[in-house]
Amino acid sequence: MNLDTTIKLGGLELRTPLLTGSGTFGYGDEFKTVMDYSALGGIVTKSISPQPRPGNPPPRICETGGGGIINSIGLANPGVDGFLADKVGCLPIGQTRVFLSVVGDSVEDFVTVVDKLESVAGVDGYEINVSCPNVRHGGLSLGGDKDAVKAIVSAVRSTTHRFVSVKLTPHHPAVEPMAEAAVKAGADALTLTNTLIGMAIDVEKRKPLLGTVTGGYSGPPLKPVALAMVWRAAQAVDVPIWASGGIVNGLDGIEFLLAGATCLQLGSVLFADPYAPGRVLREMEEYCLRHRVTKLTDLIGKLEPRR
């Protein structure tokens, strides 16, 4: 039995639902010597800001006892002009779908970056990051404000005809109004979710493990949080949802599809297992074979009622 793994995002066809999570995959060529891209439906780049950002003081990453990690990169990136000058050649255009992540502190920032990125041929769309926990301004503070999200998405929508997904925070108490606001303003998809704010302490030294004390918590422990957000958003809006949060194997991916996700982002898992895309796809195929599913999209939102 051949499984049909293709999915549609508006007018775009992706050969699989697997995407990389922003910030974990650079600009698309860093993993090329160890990863087979054929299992990926697309990549999402590291976030691009209007000005270069050096990133946060180190240490920038630590593990937590429960199998999660906390990062505090601080959106280090060369800025949109630096990206255009040095990084466009890294994008795997033609090999897989390419979505550029965009971040800023204001509506104008997002518009400036997207406007400049429109000149890059072959790009399939954008992920608008209004939810990074690792920067003082913008990011999470914007993502918690419904009116700010609406204003950013509307402004981006009038700047591009390309596909736009909006990455929301897990910190807002109600995902539904944020999701509805983003969609009403023109989002083609939603990415759920960004990292949760977390912290870890070296008790021997009595010091925080991260240079910024707190950072973004990710990895397998985030999955239940992300799953709940995906499911709730899927009830509230009618656009594809890109799930992001603790997916490490095929059954995690199936869970998110059943909860209503269309795409599955592999993020932190790539640090542990850069071969994850091929493995996760194989594991999903095994599930489908067992359940006589011939088309992966047939699983989307097919959660059965508990009774």
Binding site: G67, V269, F271
Partner: protein, 265 residues
């Protein structure tokens, strides 16, 4: 330089060298052949995803297709690695990062190790031209923590300093270096250093006061190991942002990185 690749190594031997220090020998022909001194491999430890991250480990002396991973136990990940048995598979990505530069013909290669920092320098010692004039200094907290485990000929040549005077010179590796450099007056030294943070800061001061060319290799918490995630940042010496240990290092010109202890990750 060879591009990194995924390699499934086979553990051949696991042995404790001293308290907290272990030597895992792994059949990994690709990495054993292509690793150059200073480079590292990114190793997956344990089953599943807890611990989550790979461990970056310096490549030690390689022979007959075998990689030597010599490390101190820092936490759960490295402890799990000590529990490997011969025949176990080990998921390795490497060789990663930039190696030490080889010295010019008229330079004396001076290797200065602190503790477990000796590991990449043992490989450097192996890979330099046999004709290369060289000196090898290694500092340890005490003789009982001696982790020298190259071949016998190398071990005999290493000048040892111990903090407690239990073996060799009584004092730091940097103090021993100062004494030994007098032997090479009139020749240009090229220092290769690897060791704990305070020692690296002292090395930087020593080299900059004397105008000595030096490279240092650094170890910090790391994510992808491939330059994508930017977790392994170290501050640049000029204050203009950060360099990445996995991509720009782990070997740096000692003048390029800020090694003051309060700024080290």
């Amino acid at each position: 330089m060879t591009s990194p690749a995924a390699e499934m190594g086979i553990v051949k031997a696991v042995r404790q060298i001293s308290d907290g220090c272990w030597d895992v020998s792994v059949q990994a022909p690709f990495n054993a052949l292509h690793s150059r001194a200073g480079q590292f491999v990114h190793v997956r430890v344990g089953e599943g995803f807890n611990p989550f991250l790979r461990r970056p480990l310096s490549v030690g002396p390689c022979r007959e297709g075998r990689l030597r991973l010599i490390f101190t136990v820092r936490g759960r990940g490295t402890r799990l690695l000590t529990g490997s048995s011969p025949g176990d598979k080990l998921d390795i990505i490497g060789p990663l990062g930039n190696p030490y530069q080889m010295p010019d013909e008229d330079e004396v290669a001076v290797m200065v190790a602190g503790g477990i920092g000796i590991v990449p320098l043992l490989l450097l010692d192996d890979q330099m031209s046999p004709k290369q004039e060289r000196m090898f200094i290694a500092g340890f907290r005490s003789g009982s923590l001696l982790t020298v485990d190259g071949n016998e000929a190398t071990a005999r040549r290493i000048r040892v300093a111990t903090d407690d005077g239990s073996m060799g010179f009584h004092g730091t590796a940097v103090a021993l270096l100062q004494n030994c450099l007098a032997e090479y007056q009139g020749k240009r030294p090229f220092i290769y250093a690897c060791g704990p943070g305070p020692m690296m800061a002292a090395m930087k001061k020593f080299c900059s006061e004397r105008g000595i060319r030096a490279q240092v290799s650094l170890e910090v918490p790391m994510g992808c190991g491939l330059g994508a995630c930017q977790s392994c940042a170290v501050p640049r010496a000029d204050g203009k942002g950060y360099l990445l240990v996995c991509h720009d290092g782990p070997v740096f010109d000692i003048n390029d990185v800020d090694l003051t202890p309060e700024n080290r990750p």
